[in-house]
Assembly symmetry: C2
Homo-oligomer: 394 residues x 2
């Protein structure tokens, strides 16, 4: 790690420390192992922060890679070092749980471009001794997956039993299927798509503009200048958060209920519960996430267009695959509606791949994949059980 | 108008001038005619800016009131004084057009709380000689309609032939039906609802937070301090604009097409056409709209809940009405989906009101009511023609 003297504000030191020396395992890749980015540059040196749970078996055949979503991280099954909250998929992973850490070796790494210990815009650029900021190269979903494959090499694992993820994590699963079909036995892309829609790009652009409109953003140099674009990032999170839920879920949870009062105050206070809830989502997010990482990761999702890498023919991305797929969507997910999952299934069918597909009826919206959704658990349990038997795992 | 010395920035003087001495007809209401607001205060003096087109007949029976939407104004059928663009509903209104100014006397007034000449937060508070800013009282849809009724009195019109509006304009139509049923012969609420949903309140709250996060907003005192929260208001507009379109319309118009280039730039430039389009929507909006008015008018929509004024029974809002209704929704409108219009129709049916209902198949989303939508025109032409005959208009 470069020795640097930084101007700091509250949180700035902590942010850079978590980027450089995270509360995680770290794989370092030196000058001999650059990450060859789609943008045409080599990122070197770089590091990937990751967590593991359970034990790799002797045959090295029981590893499951979990890919996290836009604002997730590697702390999938342990207390988060910054927030003190449980892992983001504790409901799914653990001893005796669906992804059983008594049976599987579970790996989750922070994506490149992230802010929890994998190299990203809040990491120190060794050439300047300052955080990269906007001089960090733009990364893609394929770059993230390339880095994950290097991590898997580093761990001495040839073939993953499964790659699992929702939302941006699901995009990574699909990219794994295209880039490294021989290195994954089973794939579980949930609530995702092979390309980001115009509406989704539009929502991301609103979020980026909100961050960049905050004068504390300082052209991306806020870590150097000791500021923090908290209000802009909070607005970005609020806008995005609406898209993670459904109209029905918001109606069920909040309706038009007033917050701690019986009638309108005729003011701009958070009169309605839904306003108060959104403000909380915004303000808590900025405590744990880096604004520039938010720009980079939304950009990576915008750029994702798997078919475009195969002359516009999605089926060619999966040609000859032997991987077993289980594709899952949710009826009330309007960010990645079922039609997107059907397109994945059709492309897999075109290549006679092994694929099962489930559209789960729920009013919980896109975030259903993170929640207690019994039908999702039942489907995943069945799929992983069958794949596990086929793979010869006990 | 109070004589005031203001610190000014580019646009500030013009903004206050348009609020006080607009390019419009103005009805002044003095101390004897206060506007009694739902917030429990009297607004006095106040003024309403309005435009008229066509000629009031001798019987004073051919007047149509057009109610504008959130970011609309009274310039429905003439060149806009600030933007130089055609009236926002030129496609619908004019000599020989659907709402024929050779037959009807068309009135459109700026809503109270607006920024184009009706009293609002950018008007001068006579008590201080400064723009009201956030000391302006919070107004409601009912307050807007109350002010319109006073304008109609001022014009010597007892009963309107029709009240017509989409979106927030449709909310005003519904409020007219509840507040002044005997003063309107026909009502055309388009793409609206009797209450704002939790999701819609959430989107409005994001917009307000974006405005208030802009340090140039200065706690709402930007007109006094000579600043302008342009970036915050632009972000608010961008977020809202997505909700006015449909996913399908965005896909058809933009898809994932790049802007003036063939491939990704791996940067945060507006790579995609949809980003460039949104940025333009944001930056052009701030040239013509006042940030505080945006706060007040979104708040008015949030507070709208017609049934709540009638013990939660929507049908009671329309009890005994003799008005003829034509309710219109659009299949791809996810801001005010058809289910909201059906609720209006059911409430009207419960009281045996005369009501026709059309759900128009279109992929253009909420903004379809402003666009060239032949089926909408055909339905409105039929409804207004029949109502016109029933009213005994030639």
């Amino acid at each position: 790690m470069a020795e640097v003297e930084l101007k700091t504000s509250r949180g700035t030191t902590e942010r850079v420390r978590e980027a450089e020396n995270p509360h995680s395992l770290v794989a370092h890749f030196g000058a001999d192992k650059p990450l060859k980015l789609d943008a045409g540059v080599d990122l070197s040196p770089f590091q990937i922060a990751y967590q593991t749970y359970g034990t790799l078996n002797a045959g090295r055949t029981n590893a499951i890679l979990i890919c996290h979503a836009l604002t997730g991280d590697q702390h999938v099954n342990n207390v988060h070092p910054l927030t003190g909250k449980p892992g983001w998929w504790d409901i799914m992973i653990g001893s005796g749980k669906l992804i059983d850490t008594d049976r599987y070796f579970v790996i989750c790494s922070n994506v490149v471009g992230g802010c929890m210990g994998s190299t990203g815009p809040s990491s120190i650029d060794p050439k300047t001794g300052e955080p990269w900021g906007l001089s960090f190269p733009v990364v893609t979903i394929r770059d993230m997956v390339r880095a994950q494959a290097m991590l898997i090499d580093h761990l001495g694992i040839d073939t993953l039993f499964a790659v699992v993820g929702g939302s941006m994590g699901g995009m990574q699963v699909l990219q794994w299927a295209a880039s490294y079909p021989e290195r994954m036995f089973a794939a579980l892309p949930i609530a995702c798509a092979t390309r980001h829609s115009a509406q989704n790009i539009a929502f991301h652009e609103v979020g980026r503009q909100a961050v960049m409109a905050d004068p504390e953003w300082r052209g991306g140099r806020y870590l150097v200048e000791g500021t923090a674009p908290r209000r802009g990032l909070a607005v970005a999170r609020m806008a995005a958060h609406i898209t993670y839920l459904s109209d029905a879920a918001l109606h069920r949870k909040f309706g038009r209920k007033f917050q701690d009062r019986n009638s309108a105050t005729f003011s701009f206070d958070a009169d309605f519960e839904v306003e108060s809830y959104l403000r909380h989502q915004g303000s808590s997010f900025v405590e744990r996430f880096d604004a520039n990482s938010y720009l980079y990761l939304t950009r990576a999702m915008d750029y994702f267009d798997l078919a475009a890498d195969y002359d516009g023919v999605l089926a060619h991305a999966f040609r000859g695959t032997k991987t077993r797929f289980c594709v899952v969507s949710f009826t009330s997910d309007w960010l990645f509606p079922t039609v997107e999952s059907r397109a994945i299934v059709h492309a897999l069918n075109a290549g006679s791949a092994r694929v099962s597909f489930a559209e789960i009826t729920t009013d919980k919206g896109h975030d259903a994949f993170l929640l207690d959704e019994p039908e999702l658990f039942a489907i995943m349990r069945g799929f992983l059980g069958a794949a596990s038997a086929a793979r010869g795992l006990r």
